[in-house]
Amino acid sequence: MYKVKLETFEGPFDLLVYLIENAKMSIYDIKVAMITKQYVSYLEDLDELDIEVATEFIVLAAILIDLKSKMLIPRLSESGEALIEEDPRFELVHRLEEYKLTKKRAEMLTERMDYFANVYEKPQEDISEFLENPDEFLNLDIEQFAKAFMLFIERKQKISEVRKSYQNIEKRRNSIEERIIHIAEMLKSKSNSEDIYNFNEFVPNAEDNYEIALTFVSLLELIKEQEIEANQEKIYGDILVKKIKDNTEEEIEQ
């Protein structure tokens, strides 16, 4: 057999297709034993190739040898009848088909490449005179306009909301004084036998933290002024408030 150098093949399939075609076989009826022998004899050249390429050639050799042994063993069932099963060559044939198709397509591309290499385009004409003064376009469309405007309105609405609560807080801050008067009035009007009040009684809306804080601050103020005294038995326990009796009314009236 006239041997073509292994380096001239694009890969293991290229070599296999060459061997099959050279032996005038159909890929659909490969004589595995014969082809495997030829293929393996090519691998004797392998030491000249780099290891990466060698591996790929050897992988296909292994597949071929495996296939050869499968073809040799008669396929019989346990009861001794011939078994009809898939041809073990099926997968290899499928891959060879794919590879042959690739080769054909590559060939078609080669012909087209050679033909179209003779077609020439011309360079762009000198258009520098047009490049100096670019047209300026305002990129505007109604959607963009509306979107930007809506965004503005939304932001504005947010601002006024923030402002409203800001104003609220200012209003409430001014009312510490009012709360002191309110507490004082409660202390005056209520006639609890022992003059002891629960802190919660001074909070009009216990849900509102601000109300609680306001009352607390007011009471601190009153303690500082020595108008009342407050006691808490344990942490998180009830705060009990007691009025200090001397000259309360006069001081608060001022």
Partner: protein, 195 residues
């Protein structure tokens, strides 16, 4: 393809690639024909392109020939070759434009009041772009200038008239809210925070 047509076809390819005026003599050498014959063939080609009303024709300069575009198509070539810079309006400019378009006629201080920020530079920019213009003076103290949108504005947005502006709900409420109060420091601060 007869040989005359074949030679003319080759002349076309050669002129196309050569770019510069191609001498009839030089073309003749390639085909081993006389320069008179080559000249004749170039003239035939020239006539063909002219009669067919093509956008490229053959120009003769002293027995040399060259493909050129026809002068009538200059404007399209210019449109094709002139690069375009696309400019966008800033968010601020869009806001001012929106306020003017919906509230026109409107003075600068009314715009400032709605936006809560000075808009002088933005307004000048929009005037320069011809999207808005001064349409008169207000009767109020100081007789301030009043602004409105232009036809350029309508054209840009594809409106036929200012009545085509899409309706925006709550517009009046939102825009009127601050109008009386004017810009405040707090407002400024909030604007900054929200941006």
């Amino acid at each position: 393809m007869n040989s005359k047509r074949k030679i003319k076809s080759a002349f076309e390819s050669m002129m196309f690639i050569w770019g510069q005026p191609l001498e009839a003599k030089e073309a003749a050498n390639i085909f081993d024909i006389t320069k008179e014959d080559a000249y004749e063939l170039f003239k035939e080609l020239q006539k063909e392109y002219e009669e067919e009303g093509r956008g490229i024709v053959i120009r003769e300069i002293n027995k040399s020939f060259q493909f050129v575009t026809i002068a009538e198509n200059e404007e399209y070539i210019e449109k094709l070759c002139t690069p375009t810079k696309i400019k966008k309006l800033t968010q601020a400019a869009l806001e001012v434009l929106a306020i003017i378009s919906y509230k026109q006629p409107i003075t600068k201080s009314e715009i400032d009041a709605i936006r809560g920020i000075k808009s002088d530079r933005v307004i000048d920019g929009l005037v320069k772009k011809e999207l808005i213009e001064v349409i008169g003076r207000s009767d109020k103290i100081g007789r301030p200038l009043i602004y409105g949108t232009t036809d350029v504005f309508l054209k840009q947005f594809g409106f036929e008239s200012i009545k085509d502006l899409p309706e925006i709900e709550d517009l009046e409420d939102t825009l009127n809210e601050d109008k009386l109060e004017g810009p405040t420091e707090l407002h400024e601060q909030l604007r900054m925070e929200l941006q």
